[in-house]
Symmetry: C2
Subunit: 273 residues, 2 copies
Amino acid sequence: MDKQLLVEEIYRKSSFLCLGLDTDLTKIPKHLLVNPDPVFAFNKLMIDSLCNLVVAVKINTAFYEVNGADGWVSLEKTIEYLNSNYPKIFTIADAKRGDIGNTSDKYAKAFFENLGFDSVTVSPYMGKDSIEPFLNYKEKKTILLALTSNIGSEDFQFLNTNDLKLYEQVIIKSKTWEGFENLMFVVGATKSEYIKSIRELVPKSFLLVPGVGAQGGSISEVFKNAANDHIGILINSSRAILYAGSGKDFLEKSILSAKSYQREMSELINFKI
Amino acid sequence: MDKQLLVEEIYRKSSFLCLGLDTDLTKIPKHLLVNPDPVFAFNKLMIDSLCNLVVAVKINTAFYEVNGADGWVSLEKTIEYLNSNYPKIFTIADAKRGDIGNTSDKYAKAFFENLGFDSVTVSPYMGKDSIEPFLNYKEKKTILLALTSNIGSEDFQFLNTNDLKLYEQVIIKSKTWEGFENLMFVVGATKSEYIKSIRELVPKSFLLVPGVGAQGGSISEVFKNAANDHIGILINSSRAILYAGSGKDFLEKSILSAKSYQREMSELINFKI
């Protein structure tokens, strides 16, 4: 889907919430485990219940790979279900891939062509030719790790190089790449003091912001520092929504959790308009 | 498997060759495509034919993910076949994963516990807590990207920071991590002029060296600069061995290709002894 449609959906739903499907067999309600594919059953319920509150869905590949080939089937069924039933929801494969060109080609084909995701997250360490195969899909978005939400982001991303931090170098370098207009950037909500300067570097790009909820970041801080004239941010929440409840009423709890995010986002959007 | 056994196998086989199973349905001999799982059929033939010439097998996950859930089944069958029949061959999941802690936990579980790989490649960009879940598996090896073989390695890995290149910072930082003794490092054969200084930074660690064959690196240059008193290097070749032939005699061609690598390695090892 194109950026214009995503922006329209953000305004229509008054939400820039991304639902992170970090679906974990050890955490979903026990009564779902009788289902032949409990992961897909859980995902389907979440998607159907939250479709009016979220504009994007992010599938974290680790949580599917840990279930082996069965997990890959759950992943395939989930993205197929999204594409068939909710084509206006922006889909993200949170895979953090990146390898030499002929290998990144295969990853890009796997996630964009075969699975039909709108976007995939990639790691910048191996440089331009590891990202190009993704950027070659002009109708897709490639989401580059810039400044991540975890403590370990301080190990290398903040290293100073020629008066710039590494994450700034990554962003600045990526602006020279063909297809830059199809890049989005991962910026952790726990790093809200740095988001403003990142927004100045890429005024028009969408930012994918993980790290609210379980990780402690603030939606209003992120919005204040990063919203642009088309909003331009997607804030992800995974665990805080998925596992808000664990009993028979788990869906109601998840809806309440997502609604509280969406309500805050709606107020921020309306205040800005 | 432990490092001591790997070293013994290197001396026993006079080889530090790693076979890279970048198995590509569009490149394997056409007559294999009638098989219900041509990828596994091809891998099995390669493994059985080359088991005396190689000490390690590296499975590049991209080439399996591109075939979806079926690809994951081929991957599972391949690693299961290796573990059952060739327990002394060191196995590598070339996955280049790395994410926040709770996600890396799942990747580590997927590759180490469920699939039973001896090692997995990881990307350093997200820092210590993205690697720790792998290092927590004390009987496994974690292979950290340091200096990669591709052109894009120059984009960020060579950036100067506090008088060190980024890849040097990565290596030096990793020496402070608990479990460092279970780390190995990816260093591209195309960067042989830098390998000597990397070896000085990590005199005892194994280096996984891709980039000979299709990418143009030299085995003797790598050996001269990086071999230590237990050899300490694994040189990977994928395409140059797998696709040496494409007709009915493809296995003979692959054996010839692997033998020529192994012969060169044998001479280097014997000369050193």
